[in-house]
């Protein structure tokens, strides 16, 4: 087992953990977005509430969601510890900042990541905690047995406030920059750097970094303007 601890203690081992947890979270974002887009349906929140019930009661999804919380925390913990280590490894900064062909996001991943972590905590407090603590009104739908929690009501209430709409939009802009570097970087770490595939990965990565946060950001804006 020593070989495995040596591996995860090495620079490349830690990189691999960042890459794999990052890729999992990238996939999670897409699934989360597909679920959330039901908030744009004009059915008074019925399909979204049924979906929310499934997400919080299905044992398989519950299992994956605990894995997801763990990966978010692991990604954040390794990322922040690497950033702190790198700061001491660099030592003194240059008097003149370099002007080379690198993205701003790539040099500020830890800052962006910390802001995203803070955003996740606020976001969980808004919806996840209310769902868990049973602070939501109940609704019944024809054809659905029993009462279910009206999470849609909570979403609607939150996005009536310009402060929260602004916060969510800014959160998604931060996420977009994090993904701009993170998506393609995850593949480079896995050792996938190839003249055939890298241009495709970079194009998909950029599209992903723009479209997924945009998809999320549309929801609070739409709720604020239309409801």
């Amino acid at each position: 087992m020593k070989w495995l601890t040596t591996f995860f203690g090495s620079s490349i081992g830690k990189k691999l953990l960042m890459s794999l947890t990052g890729l999992f979270l990238i996939l999670f974002l897409l699934i989360h977005l597909i679920g959330n887009l039901q908030l744009l349906k004009n059915d008074g929140g019925m399909s979204f509430n049924i979906y929310a019930k499934l997400m919080t009661t299905n044992p398989l999804i519950k299992f994956i969601s605990y894995g997801n919380y763990f990966f978010i925390l692991l990604h954040a913990f390794i990322g922040i510890s690497l950033a702190l280590y790198n700061r001491t490894a660099k030592g003194q900064k240059y008097a003149v900042a370099a002007n080379n062909n690198t993205t701003w996001a790539s040099k500020n991943m830890a800052l962006l990541g910390t802001l995203i972590l803070a955003f996740i905590f606020i976001h969980m407090g808004d919806f996840w905690l209310k769902m868990k603590l049973d602070q939501l009104p109940m609704v019944t739908y024809p054809g659905i047995e029993g009462e279910i929690k009206d999470l849609y009501f909570s979403v609607n209430e939150t996005f009536k406030q310009p402060l929260f709409v602004g916060l969510y939009v800014i959160g998604m802009i931060i996420l977009a920059f994090h993904l701009q570097h993170g998506f393609q970087s995850a593949f480079q770490t896995l050792g996938i750097n190839h003249k055939k595939y890298t241009p495709i990965i970079k194009t998909i990565g950029l599209a992903y970094a723009i479209l997924v946060p945009l998809g999320f950001a549309i929801i609070p804006i739409w709720h604020f303007l239309m409801k």
Binding site: S106, K107, T189, N193
Partner: protein
């Protein structure tokens, strides 16, 4: 004499490894055909004539192949030109009257010894850990005696162009030595003579690189942008693959 240019050189002065150090600005009358190092020679002659301590900087071949010269010029290792070492950088790329900021490489693993001279022996120890072929590879073999695909030979040659100057570490905001180490791993690992020991080599060199206190790579790409020999990030991807293969596919020793 329109080719003469007057410059102000704002240069890092540090007495030794223990002292604090700071910037000093000196006027220099240079010629635009001079290399950057020749311009510093002029500065040092002036300083010696004024009975002042000359600025310590490293140099050897002055033709861009030895990896001895360094310097961070206006924030860029080896200055503003792509694919150019400091010794091959000419003063015509600077404007008359310009103030040029000259700093030593910055990284914890490259401590400043004096002025612009840093200790790069960490690189030597990474090479000692595995940057070689253990058996005698003999004379240059006859052409096609050992078949090597053209692309592999070409890629290996590109990686072998690394002169070990440390610009990658200097450019990296994390102070990581991954581009250097990966260039050596790729150069040797792609060829049949070096492939035999590839797994052991990669593990040993990565372990030594980590031990030296270099930072962790986060795929920023500043190294690739500043490398005077234009070593590419795909070397790092190759090293990652080689390391995964060594760790997960290799035998327990």
């Amino acid at each position: 004499m329109s080719e003469d240019i007057k410059l102000n050189i704002k240069v890092w002065r540090q007495k030794n490894n223990k002292s604090a150090g700071g910037f000093e600005t000196y006027p220099v009358n240079a010629n635009e055909h001079m290399s950057f190092l020749e311009m510093l020679d002029v500065l040092n002659e002036d300083l010696v004539n004024q009975k002042k301590e000359p600025v310590a900087f490293e140099h050897d071949c002055r033709e861009g192949i030895c990896g001895t010269c360094s310097l961070v010029i206006n924030g860029q290792p080896h200055g503003p030109n792509a694919g150019t070492t400091t010794c091959q950088l000419h003063m015509r790329h600077f404007k008359n009257g310009e103030t040029i900021v000259v700093e030593p490489y910055r990284a914890k693993a490259f401590p400043v010894l004096k002025d612009l001279v840093v200790d790069r022996s960490a690189f030597d120890r990474i090479i000692q850990a595995g940057g070689y072929i253990s058996v005698n590879a003999g004379q240059a073999p006859d052409g096609n005696a050992i078949p090597i695909g053209k692309n592999k030979a070409g890629k290996s040659f590109e990686s072998a162009a690394c002169i070990g100057c440390g610009a990658c570490v200097a450019a990296c905001p994390n102070g990581s030595a991954m581009l250097f180490t990966s260039a050596k791993v790729t150069h040797l690992g792609l060829l049949p003579q070096g492939e035999v020991e590839a797994e052991r080599r990669t593990e040993a060199m990565v372990a030594q690189m980590d031990k030296e206190g270099f930072g962790m790579c986060s795929n920023i790409g500043a190294c690739e942008a500043e490398c005077p020999k234009e070593i590419k990030l795909d070397n790092i991807a190759f090293m990652n693959r080689s390391y995964f293969k060594a760790v997960f596919g290799g035998e327990l020793e």
